[in-house]
Amino acid sequence: MRKKRIPQLSILAYKRALFCFLIFFLLVSNGATAGFAEDENKVLENFKHFSHAWMAKLSQLNDQNQKNIRIESSNGWYTGQYICYGDQCRFRIKKTVSKKTPYIGFLSYSEMRIQKAGRTKRQAVNDTGRVYHEIPVTEIFRYTDNHWVY
């Protein structure tokens, strides 16, 4: 009876297989990392545009608030206050563990309370105003279903 020949791998073959596996692993992991980074850059770019659009909305609010200011008379002065949002902003994103909301975005700017004053109503309206209170604001947005939600 002839003995069945069992194929045997030589040590060299093992080494080759290990080497190929290592190369394959490196390629795949590197690709995944690159893909992730690309994804994050894309989301960051997306949030940058979103932030600029948001700041433009706040700028419109500034105009409206200034236009709709209520001037009142008190102690020989005409005064009015309104809220103004600073035009300088900082933004960043952060990865989360949520699959539905994989990123959140932070947008920071300043909120100022401005007083306009004058001896006459006209003077008060034309006054450039003075900031009497300023605070930092951070808005946190979520990135759900590939878009920023507010």
Binding site: K57, L61, Q64, E111, R113, N126, R130, Y132, I140, Y150
Partner: protein, 243 residues
């Protein structure tokens, strides 16, 4: 003297008289004299010539009559004019125009910037006690609901993380709505949602002693409620971090 020549002399005299009387530098009486003399010379000359012509003695005497008449008439007319002239009362001088009273006016204040003096601006209104604000966006509850959806959790978790690192501050969780719905409904809804967020944060180990809640309903819009965009901006939860 021939008649034609006489008339020429008279005419010249008349013109001379009129010119002289028109002189601006002459007084009123002088003008009256010369005007009267001119008129008298014409009338006297004409009268003397007529008388002399009617007597019929001598042809040449006609000329003499005119000359004598003109001179006599001129003298008489001048004297009459001089004597009859009445000085017209001088019209009273026009009153000098009222001097324009220049009332010293205070320097107009620049409209844009009041003077930098002690009383240049009124005291500002009291500042709110808020020193920082964190606005949670995308925490959009379903209609009439206040339960936390899983999609909100990353935003709320980040809020919890920030507050856990700021144990020294008090935080007011504010609920805000747009103006859709009645005022009283929105007021209660905003309170429920603020409490719901507070409960979630406490569940994430934020110190409950730090947290208080308030619902502002639709009373503190940040954007125009008449626009869809504005209503979306007005629906929000804010953390007001106090001094």
């Amino acid at each position: 003297m021939k008649k034609g020549k006489l008339i020429q002399v008279m005419f010249t005299f008349l013109i001379l008289t009129l010119v002289i009387s028109g002189c601006a530098n002459m007084s009123g009486k002088q003008k009256a004299f010369w005007t009267g003399a001119a008129a008298g010379a014409v009338i006297g000359g004409a009268g003397g010539g007529a008388i002399d012509h009617n007597d019929g003695y001598d042809n040449n005497s006609n000329d003499d009559g005119i000359a004598v008449g003109a001179i006599a008439g001129g003298l008489v007319g001048g004297i009459i004019g001089y004597l009859t002239y009445k000085e017209e009362p001088l019209s009273p001088p026009e009153p000098e125009p009222e001097p324009i009273k220049v009332v010293p006016q205070p320097e107009p204040e620049p409209e844009t910037q009041p003077k930098a003096e002690a009383q240049a601006t009124p005291p500002p209104p009291p500042s709110p006690p808020v020193k920082e604000k964190i606005v949670l966006r995308g925490v959009n509850f379903d209609f009439d609901k206040s339960d936390i959806k899983p999609v909100f959790e990353p935003v709320l978790n980040e809020g919890a993380r920030i507050l856990k690192n700021r144990t020294d501050v008090d935080v007011v969780i504010e609920g805000h709505t747009c103006w859709t719905g009645t005022e009283s409904y929105n007021q209660k809804l905003s309170e429920r949602r603020a409490k719901s967020v507070r409960n979630y944060l406490v569940g994430k180990n934020v110190d409950p002693a730090q947290l208080s809640t308030v619902g502002y309903g639709e009373t503190r819009p940040m954007a125009d409620n008449r626009k869809l965009e504005g209503r979306r901006m007005n629906r929000r939860v804010e953390f007001s971090i106090l001094d």
